[in-house]
């Protein structure tokens, strides 16, 4: 079972595991679970490792060949979704 670093912003109620290229995230408080596709999993692993938003944006841009602006926008949307689902306990986009 994978845990997240303390400064990752990920809620303490969340646990996750990677299976193949896909991450499965479980919110232990709500019992809801989610699966992430390859891109989502890529971002999630960096987030769980406590990487700041700027580093994640840079990595996304390099991995998927998109501009920095596009990568930043994709990341912001993803983090917003995670916050709505209460998977993030605080905003980490800054």
């Amino acid at each position: 079972m994978a845990g997240a670093k303390q400064n990752s912003g990920i809620s303490a109620a969340v646990t996750w595991r990677k299976t193949g290229d896909e991450a499965v995230i479980l919110n232990l408080e709500t019992s809801e679970y989610y699966s992430l596709n390859e891109t989502g999993t890529f971002i999630w692993e960096l987030l769980a490792a406590g990487k700041p938003a700027a580093r994640i944006t840079e990595a996304l841009s390099a991995e998927y060949g998109v501009t920095a602006d596009q990568a930043a926008e994709d990341l912001a949307d993803f983090l917003k979704d995670l916050s709505k689902l209460k998977i993030l306990s605080r905003e980490t986009a800054k």
Partner: protein, 305 residues
């Protein structure tokens, strides 16, 4: 990018590790490729501590254990094919020396694992150790809500130990089911109601009923049992080989693949037709034969003729 799928309230009592294993299993099962079974049953051993009246191994099947390298190879191929679950079966799988190691290997391959046990050897310490090693769930055999009737089938004192095993598995945080052989759906409906009530009261997460017919040849019991469950259990707490709303049993739909202790492959532990041997072939080859064989008329849930 993210999907949202709720888990039933009853599963919120599980350990975090078991709940996560269940979530991963559900995701993998939902995304499983067409034609790939939902479960690989590993008959780890023909040995058993009991001699239940209805069991196919009663009267001696020899002391045969599935060689560990073959078990591991089966798990690896199953995981690579996209099979989401491995069931440790027997005989009595708790008698298999490297069970914990196999559970860990299966977990590392991303497989959800289930132990199908008579419960006689399952103490809390053992359940906890297996959970820590990677086991996800336990299915304990209890064939009647009446201790006397269960003991008549399986031996004196076996009901009590099975009930204790159920409690032990729940305490260890494992997904826990009651598994029962049903011998008739008519007069046996009282037992069915009793078993459902017992399983729910015990805190089990579900129940599975196996239709058992002592006579070879097509039996009406599986369909009768499925119909009885639709009446008695509309919420779907219990399952049987005939899944609600689907044609044929799990073996006929090729939703199960069974590997016996000798390496033989079949559509389920009770199927009569062989699908080859893992000693000479692969799971994939057996699945191709399974697809052809499953169109036949014979129900597999029968004692050998």
């Amino acid at each position: 990018m993210a999907q949202r799928t709720p888990v039933k309230e009853q599963f919120s009592r599980l350990s975090p590790a078991s709940r996560l294993a269940l979530a991963v299993f559900r995701v993998r099962a939902a995304g499983k490729p067409a034609g790939i079974p939902g479960s690989l049953f590993l008959g780890l051993t023909s040995r058993c501590s009991l001699s239940c009246l209805h069991c196919k191994y009663r009267g001696g099947a020899g002391d045969l254990d599935l060689p560990y390298p073959l078990a591991l190879a089966a798990l690896r191929e199953a995981a690579a094919l996209g099979v989401p679950k491995a069931v440790f079966f027997g005989g009595e799988p708790l008698l298999y020396p490297r069970l914990a190691e196999l559970a860990g290997a299966a977990r590392d391959l991303g497989l959800f694992t289930e132990l199908d046990t008579n419960g006689q050897e399952l103490t809390f310490a053992r359940a906890r150790a297996l959970a820590r090693a990677g086991l996800s769930s336990v299915m304990v055999s209890l064939h009647s809500p009446s201790p006397e009737e269960h003991d008549r089938l399986c031996g004196r004192g076996t009901y009590q130990k099975a009930a204790r095993a159920l409690a032990a598995a729940l305490k260890a945080g494992l997904v826990t089911y009651v598994s029962s052989c049903v011998f008739s759906a008519g007069p046996g409906e009282r037992d069915l109601r009793g078993l459902l009530a017992f399983a729910k009261d015990s805190g089990a997460h579900g129940a599975r009923f196996l239709p058992y017919s002592p006579r070879a040849g097509a039996s009406r019991l599986p369909a009768a049992l499925a119909a009885a469950l639709r009446r008695e259990d509309p919420a779907g707490f219990a399952g049987t080989c005939l899944a609600r709303g689907r044609r044929g049993c799990a073996a006929q739909r090729a939703d199960i693949l069974y590997l016996g202790p000798s390496g033989d492959l079949r559509a389920c532990p009770y199927a009569l037709a062989g699908l080859g041997s893992l000693r000479r072939g692969t799971l994939a080859a057996a699945l191709r034969r399974c697809g052809r064989a499953a169109r036949g008329p014979v129900r597999p849930c029968q004692k050998r003729a």
